[in-house]
Structures are given as C-alpha cells and as structure tokens.
Symmetry: C2
Subunit: 135 residues, 2 copies
C-alpha cells in the first residue's frame, strides 16, 4: 500500500490514492472483505491530511469499491469493481461532457475534437505540465 502521493503532478492526491487502492485490489494485495488501513494511520504514513484519505475512501465507497462502517473501519467490498461502470463511468461522463462543451465553444468541430482525443489516447505522452521534465 505504501506509495508516494505527488502533490505537484496535477492529479489530486485523493484521486491518486483511490487509484492505488483499486490497483491493490486488482493485483490481489487487498482482497474482498479485508480491512483497509484506518484513515488517521494511513494519512500519517503518507504525510497527508486525514481528510484527504477520508475523501478518497468516501469516493471509493460511492463507487462501490469499498465499504465504510462508522466506528468499525473500511473494508474491501465483496464484488469490488463490479460497480465500476456505474459510478466511476458516470462521474467520468460529466467531466467528458464539460470538456467537449468547452472545445465546441472554442469553435472546434466534433471531428477535430475526436482527433484530439484519439491522439491523446494513442500516445501516452504524459504531458510534462508541472512536475517536470522527461530526460
């Protein structure tokens, strides 16, 4: 579970943590029913705010990945990523819709927008927007 959240990567810490938890479930490092680290201990280990962990957990619960029990702890959900296509996709669609709306407002045609997305999805270029350079 130990990983280093990168605050300057442009990707919010809570999203990085969510992805990490999902990945751990995928690889079997965390199994259904297993208890996750508490909010406070994990926050201390990652040197981030407990509230940030809480937000990640809350979102993960909302996606059906984990289950939160007040006072008891956080546990990997039974069917884990079965619900992935329900909430994560739904949240994603909102973001996608907003982005497309803006591109259209800038005068780009749907064809051009599609080309941009294909280009980005094709080459994992990993834009060096903040943290740094590739060398």
């Amino acid at each position: 579970m130990l990983f280093r959240p990168n605050p300057s990567s442009g990707v919010p810490i809570y999203l990085q943590l969510m992805e990490q938890v999902k990945h751990s479930i995928e690889t079997g490092a965390l199994r259904p029913g297993e208890q996750l680290p508490g909010i406070r201990p994990l926050a201390e280990e990652l040197v981030i705010n407990p509230n940030t962990v809480a937000k990640a957990y809350r979102e993960l619960e909302h996606e059906g990945v984990i289950e939160l029990r007040h006072g008891a702890g956080a546990f990997v959900s039974g069917s884990a990523r079965a619900k992935k296509e329900t909430d994560a996709m739904k949240a994603g669609q909102t973001a996608v819709a907003a982005t497309i709306e803006r591109l259209r407002a800038r005068g780009l045609s749907d064809e051009e927008i599609r080309r941009l997305f294909e280009a980005e999805l094709a080459g994992h270029s990993a834009l060096p927007k903040t943290g740094g350079h590739r060398d």
Copy 2:
C-alpha cells in the same frame, strides 16, 4: 453580432463571445479586413465588462482570427481561420490531456474513456447541467 451571453451556462462569457465572432466570420457577416466593434461599445451592448470583451479579442488575436491594433481597433484577419488548427487545437489538446489524465487516475481504462467520448460526441443533446434551455 447581437447575441445574449449566458453567464449561467457554465461556458465562460469570453468563450461564448469568441465563438460568436468566429461564427460571424464563417457566415460572412464579418469579412476579412473589416473592423469589429470597439471593446467598450460592444461591452455596453452585451451588458458585460469591457475587460471580458478584451479577453475574447486577445484570445482571438492569439488564434490568428482577428488582428488588434493599439489605438486603431480590431480587424478580421486576412486568412482568418487558417490558423485555427495551430492555436485552438493546441489549447484544446491541453484540456483533453488533462481530462484523460484524470479519468485514468480514476481507474478508467483507455477503452472506457474512448467509449465515454464517443457517447458524448454522438448524442449532442445530453445533460441539462445548468441553464437548461436555449432559445
């Protein structure tokens, strides 16, 4: 040129104005070399801040759509949308890259991301997120 900027549409006013100018050029309502309305008069007519018009003009100049001449006015650029694929596309690509980065951080696969975009690009209507109507 008269249009009604919608402040509650989620799309920034300066982007709406930019699109409007581009559209006027496309339809021939504004022709190459022709002078655009001044920043202040236009702002007053649209009941928005002159600075917002100025920002739209500045962006349009940066995209090569119009040409600004200090003290003289704003004029439709000669080759107008010839440079569209240079700057607008470039700005768009940044937005697209950021969105995709976030979707990936949420654990969505490239295939799923692609599906979301296709769905949005296909069905124009979709989510009534804010203003709802257009008339």
